[in-house]
Every structure is written in C-alpha cells, then in structure tokens.
C-alpha cells in the first residue's frame, strides 16, 4: 500500500511535466481556484486555444482514446496523471471540455466514419468549440421530457423549440442536440441526436444572467433550423441511448468543486480575531475545521482508491459516484462557515477581502455545482438505484405517448 507511481507512470508523469513546464506557468502557491475564473478575461479564448493546440501536438489530448478515434491509445491512468499535473498550472481548458470529453466520445461511439473524420480532430485542437444542447425549461433532471421538435423534410430535419443552460453556446461552433422526432411514442423512444452547426440560420442565443452576475449559460432558440440528415448521430429514435453515452462521460469525471477548501478556511481562521483571540485557537472553530478536514481527506482518498483501480487496469468502483455530490455540498458548508467568521465585514466582495475574496465569490457560484451535470437529488437516485440496487421510483408517464404527458410547469 503506497501512493507511488509505477515506473511506467512516473516516466509518463515526467513527460507531462516537461511539456507543461515548457508551455504553461505554474500556479502560485496559495492561489485559489474559482469557478470558471479567468474565462471572461480579455484574450482568454485565444490563449486557451493556443495552449490546446500545443497540448494536442504533444499528444496529451485524448490520451486514453482508441487510436482509431484519433486518440493516443493510452491508459485511463495516464489521462488521470496528465490531469493531475495540468491542475498545478495556470491553464484554461474548461472551454473545450464539452467538445472533447462529451461530444467526441459520443460521435465516435455512435456516429458515422465521415462524422468522426470531420469533427474529432478539429475539436481536439480547439479549432472548433462545442456546446451541449440538452436541457430545456421543461426537461432538466427529467431530460427525456424535452419538447424541442425535429421533423424530417426530405434530406433535412427542421428543428423548432428552445434549449437552456447551454454553457458557451455564444462562442461555440457546433452543438450536440437532442430533439423529439416522434411525440406519439413513449418519451424515451421518440428522441434523435444531432450535430448542429451553430451558424445555421434560425438560431437565436440569449445569455442568461446568473446570480453571480456573469453569463456563462445561454438560452438557445430554434426557429425552423435546418439540419442535414448526414448530421444525425445514431438511428432515428435512438437519441436517448446516444445521449446516455454523453451523460455517462459527463458524470464519469469524479469532479471536485473549485473554491475555498480547508486550506483557505485555515488561512482565514489564522487571520481573524474572535472575542478571545485568533479564531484558530477557538474550540468551536477547531471542531468545525476538523470536520471539514476529515471530509476533504475522505474525498481525496476516495479519489485515490478510484485512481488505484485505474492503475491496476480495473474500472473504478461506485465510490467515484459520490465525489461530485460531496464536493459541492462541502464547498457550500465551508464558504458559509468562512463568511460567518468574517462577520459584519462579510458582505463586501473583491480581492481585498480575506483570502482574496474567495468566500464571497464562491457564495454566488456554488449553487451551480450542486445542479450542473446532475443535481444532488439525481446523483443520490443514481447511487441508490445503480450502486445500492434500490427500485426505481414508479413513473407516472411510463408507457404513455409523449404528447399526453404533462411536462414543465403547470398551474
């Protein structure tokens, strides 16, 4: 039992470091990472694309993909090692996550050879940026309740409807779209999956202002948008199965929640004076710090168990399913406790606040982390059903033709 790389892993890690040292700046010690911090800075997209192109040329994009996808044919553990190293550097790669981690594996699994040939490499090199057009105002957690219509006319599909929560739709070249091709069959059976050129006439993109004030998400409206049938991914009516490939990739990420963690709370407790001296000497603060530390460590070692499974060539166990839900809730608990210690000065925001204002900043973005990519409630359903084997909830819409199912908000 140890935390060491195998000799092969160590050699690969050294290669990753050499590339990163030559192409990126290391994060400064103590720097805090926010949610999508830096994505709005001027020139961020150009710098991110430039780095991505060099990353691709060095063979660090699609490390573990099969060679026939255009990947490196490497192991999942190599992918993890690269990401561990990259996280130590100040690079923006999240802008391309949908294209590389979600869209291309789905296209490679379900699409035609022509689609693979056309789309995979430009996405890997970030020459083309992708967004995800899945959720709708009436279909979020219940994604299969989506209503956007796709009707076949000759060799084309005509799309009408609305999507929502589309990160980066405003700067994306392509989107992966799920739409309803047949409302007369039960909801999971009437969906079809498409690749959509975001410059197609009839698409309107409106930014959604989040509670943080910034706008990373959009609403996307379709008004007689035409998609050639050659851009359909998978069979007509198989859109749900195709989308599940995307969703599995989305949830597979064992994602942590960026923001203030135990180290930042310690720093805060060391700088703040309470009634009887430094907060770090306060008994109640110490107990809270200990609880958060234990939770953080539990997550860290849960991830290590998953990485060990990968390192041994096994599939990570169900333990990886807990990471997102624990991390996002821990973030909110930590930021709330931190703000509470700051007290009356807490409402102020910005770099001059303790620990560079990360507690206040996180207050306004943290709700997203409990919603995106599967809400806490959906994640707990997944744990209960897939890991613990509990029965599914009875579904009131089971077997009903979609057009008869109430969806969205009815008053």
């Amino acid at each position: 039992m140890d935390f060491e790389d195998t000799p092969e892993e160590a050699a690969f890690r050294a290669k990753c470091r050499a590339f990163l040292d030559a192409n990126a700046e290391r994060r400064k010690p103590g720097a805090v990472e926010g949610y999508r911090r830096g994505q709005d800075a001027p020139g961020a997209m150009e710098r991110a694309k430039d780095f991505q192109r060099r990353k691709y040329e060095a063979g660090f994009v699609g490390i573990h993909w099969p060679v026939e996808w255009g990947g490196g044919g490497g192991t999942p553990i190599q992918h993890v090692i690269y990401n561990q190293e990259e996280a130590k550097y100040d690079v923006l790669t999240g802008l391309f996550g949908i294209g590389i981690n979600l869209a291309q594996p789905t296209i490679c699994t379900w699409g035609t050879p022509e689609q693979r040939e056309r789309f995979v490499k430009p996405a890997m090199r970030a020459e083309e940026v992708w967004c995800q057009l899945f959720s709708e105002p009436g279909g979020g957690s219940d994604l299969a309740a989506l209503r956007t219509r796709a009707e076949k006319q000759g060799d084309e599909w005509v799309v009408n409807g609305q999507k929502i929560w589309n990160s980066g739709a405003h700067y994306s070249d392509f989107g992966i779209l799920v739409a309803r091709s047949n409302p007369d069959v039960p909801k999971h059976e009437g969906l079809t999956f498409f690749i959509l050129d975001m410059k197609t006439p009839g698409i309107e993109i409106r930014p959604i202002r989040q509670i943080s004030g910034s706008s990373h998400f959009n609403e996307v409206f379709f008004n007689d948008v035409r998609i050639p049938d050659s851009r359909r991914v998978g069979p007509v009516g198989a859109g749900w199965k195709v989308a599940l490939t995307t969703l599995m990739n989305e949830r597979h990420g064992m994602r942590d929640a960026p923001g203030p963690d135990v180290a930042e709370l310690f720093r805060l407790a060391q700088t703040i004076e309470l009634e009887n001296g430094p907060a770090i000497d306060d008994s109640a603060v110490q107990e809270k710090l200990a609880e958060f530390y234990v939770r953080s460590q539990g997550l860290k070692y849960t991830k290590f168990r998953g990485i060990t499974a990968l390192s041994r060539g096994q599939t990570p166990g169900p333990e990886s399913s807990i990471v997102k839900v624990v991390a996002a809730n821990k973030l909110q608990d930590i930021l709330s406790y931190g703000l509470d210690m700051i007290g009356m000065a807490g409402p102020a925001m910005g770099e001059t606040m303790p620990v560079a204002g990360i507690f206040e900043e996180a207050l306004l973005y943290s709700p997203a982390l409990r919603l995106a990519g599967g809400t806490d409630e959906i994640m707990k359903n997944i744990i209960a059903e897939r890991v613990l084997g509990l029965p599914q909830d009875p579904r009131a819409d089971k077997g009903m033709p979609f057009r008869d199912i109430p969806t969205g908000t009815r008053k």
Partner: protein
C-alpha cells in the same frame, strides 16, 4: 498509485468474511446479549487458531507476521459480524502496547501468549468522565505496586492482564502490566450500552505492576491510541457497512403504499447518504492503514481522520438503519440495535470524536504542510 491492500490481504479479508458469516451470524452476538456469557469463547478460540490474534505479531514472537495491515482487514470483518470477542482490547491495545513499549523480555514473555490467544489483554485508562488526560490519572505507583480505580475497562472481567495507564509524573502517563488474577485486584462487571462486549470496573489496591520501559516519555497514550484507532476505524466501518446492507435489504422487501419503501426518495436519499458516509470513512481508514503500515510521520493526523470519520459514519448509519426499519427497528427482536449499540461503544472506546477533533487540529498546526495536501 497503489492505494489498496495487497492481493493476499484481500484474499484474507474474503476468507475472514466467509468464516464469520458461518461462525458469527447475528445469533452469536445476540447469544452474548441475552445470556450471562461474557464473550464468545468458542469463536475466540477459533480465530486464535487461525492466527488472527497474532496477525501483527512478528513470527519470532509466535505471530504470523501479516503486519498491521493484516489486522485492519480482519478488524473490518469482525466489525461487520459484531463479533463478541475481545479482539480490539487484546490485539489493537494490549499487544500493540507491548510491541511499542515493551522490553525484549516482555515481548518474549507476552507476545507468544497473546498470539496464541491463550492470554487476553486489555487497556485500562478512564478514571472519570471526560477526555483522557494523563496528568489527571489518580493512580499512585510505589515500589512496583499500583492503587486506584479504572472505570468501564473493556473486557476487564475476562482479560488476564491489563496495560494500566498511571500518572508517570507531570503530564505524562506511564504504562504498566497488571496481572488481573493477582492479589490486590478486584473487578466487577458493569452494565454497559453494549453487553455484547463486557466491561468491568477495576479496583487496584497495591496490585503488583510491571512497567513497560518504553512508555515513560511524553506522548505515550497518544501514540498507543493512534495505533489502535486505525484498526478500530476498520472495525467501525465494517459495522457501518453491515448496518447499511441491512437497511438496503429491508428497503427492498418492505412495502408501504403499494410499493417497496426503497422506491421512495425519502428513503432512497437517506440510504445514499449512508453509503456516502461509509465510503468516506472507508477511504479515511485506508489512509490510516497506510500510516500504521509505513510508520509514517503523518500517523497522528491519519489516525485522527480515520477515527473521526469512522465514529461519525457509525453513528449516522446505525441510527438511520433503525429509522429505515420504522417501529420494528426499535424492537429487541430485530438486529438493528446490535449495530447501534456496538457503533456507539466503539466510538467511545478510544475517546470521543470531540477530543479527536482537537487532537487533529493540534497535529495539523504542528504540521502546516499537511493542511492543503
């Protein structure tokens, strides 16, 4: 990254699970609960014959030399089975104290007997409610004899000897071996929250006491408790996993409002939360296992983290197991209370989570590099 047990210990864990499923189903702790038998002597003999009691003891002292990792995997299975045997007292505490602090002569004398199971040892610390503070120990030690009272000593009525903590002067404790069958020792079984593990009050009146020479320095008690907390965390995780399994099984077979209760999200999400607690505790216990195995400088932090996570998971999961069972869960007849009692007993055994949390922060402040790591 190789953060898992080696293959041979995973096999040992599987063997132990099968053995205990056969030899220690819930009817065994229930027998101890409902009769005057203080522990399952037949089970104790069987596990001693398989070498479990000597798992961490080197072969030169009659053990099987599996190391402390071996004890961890066995502890998890004993916890799962709610085994009514003095394993934690004799193995994690008495054996560990002699391995850590005993003289060569003491190791040669005691370890083979502990390994074979012919002798049961325990650890006697608490003299009053509240955290274990070596400076407050009342025992007087004069010319090799010890006087005083120890409360709620685990397995104190069945053990052959106790490692007794006495005030070694100032803030330090000093450990002594006391033969519990010798003159000057009186012991009385006390009622506890978990009668499947018997406890006794020890009254020592000028009882002969043999010091463990390595135990005179500072930090003795913490060091012993750190080493014991890691296998104890595995035992706690094993019990929590068993309680979770019980709740899940019941939620699948119990119907209400025309459907299995496990199809209601109120139950489903509770069970998912229980699963999350168990997995986090298991991961932290693994970190503790790594630390005791390698003798890492991080052991005090790792042991505290393992201890706190396991105690909190044990409490949460075993109380919610009762809740999932509804009124039936509160009956004597259902086994829920076996896990509930044991979880709370083990979470108190080495000191409550409150004191371990303060200990953790003290250690982290001394090792600033670990906070962000």
């Amino acid at each position: 990254m190789n953060f898992d047990f080696p293959e041979e210990l995973i096999q040992l864990r599987d063997q132990a699970r099968r053995f205990l499923a056969d030899r220690c189903p819930p009817s065994v702790p229930r027998r101890i609960l409902e009769t005057s038998e203080p522990y399952a002597a037949d089970l104790w003999r069987a596990i001693a014959e398989m070498g479990w009691t000597g798992a961490a003891i080197p072969e030169e002292y009659g053990g099987v030399g599996l190391g402390r990792l071996g004890v961890c995997v066995l502890a998890e299975e004993l916890g799962r089975a709610v085994a009514p045997v003095p394993f934690s007292s004799s193995v994690y505490l008495a054996t560990e104290a002699i391995m850590l602090f005993g003289s060569e002569h003491q190791k040669q004398h005691w370890l083979p007997k502990l390994a074979s199971g012919e002798v049961i040892g325990t650890f006697a610390m608490a003299e009053q409610p509240g955290p274990a503070d070596p400076a407050k120990l009342l025992h007087s030690i004069a010319s090799g004899h010890v006087t005083g009272t120890k409360l709620a000593v685990p397995d104190g009525d069945i053990a052959d000897f106790a490692v007794v903590a006495v005030n070694g002067g100032g803030r330090h404790a000093w450990l002594h071996i006391v033969d519990l069958n010798a003159p000057g020792v009186s012991r009385e079984t006390v009622a506890t929250i978990d009668p499947t593990r018997s406890h006794a009050r020890l009254d020592l009146t000028a009882a002969r006491a043999e010091p463990l020479p390595g135990s005179t320095g500072p930090g003795t008690i913490h060091r012993l408790l750190d080493y014991a907390a890691v296998p104890m965390a595995f035992e706690q995780v094993g019990g929590a996993q068993a309680a979770l399994d019980m709740a899940v099984a019941y939620a699948k077979e119990r119907y209400a409002f025309g459907r299995p209760i496990g199809s209601f999200q109120g139950i489903k999400h509770k069970l998912a939360d229980m699963y999350i607690q168990v997995e986090l505790a298991r991961s932290n216990a693994y970190y503790g296992a790594w630390a005791v195995h390698t003798g890492a400088a991080e052991l005090p932090v790792a042991a505290s983290v393992a201890r706190i996570a396991a105690s909190e998971a044990g409490w949460f999961v075993t109380k919610e197991n009762i809740q999932t069972h509804g009124g039936m869960g509160f009956t004597w007849q259902m086994d829920c209370h076996l896990y509930y009692r044991r979880a709370r007993l083990l979470s108190l055994a080495l000191g409550g989570t409150r004191e371990w949390k303060h200990r953790l922060i003290d250690e982290l402040r001394a090792r600033n590099d670990l906070i962000a790591a």
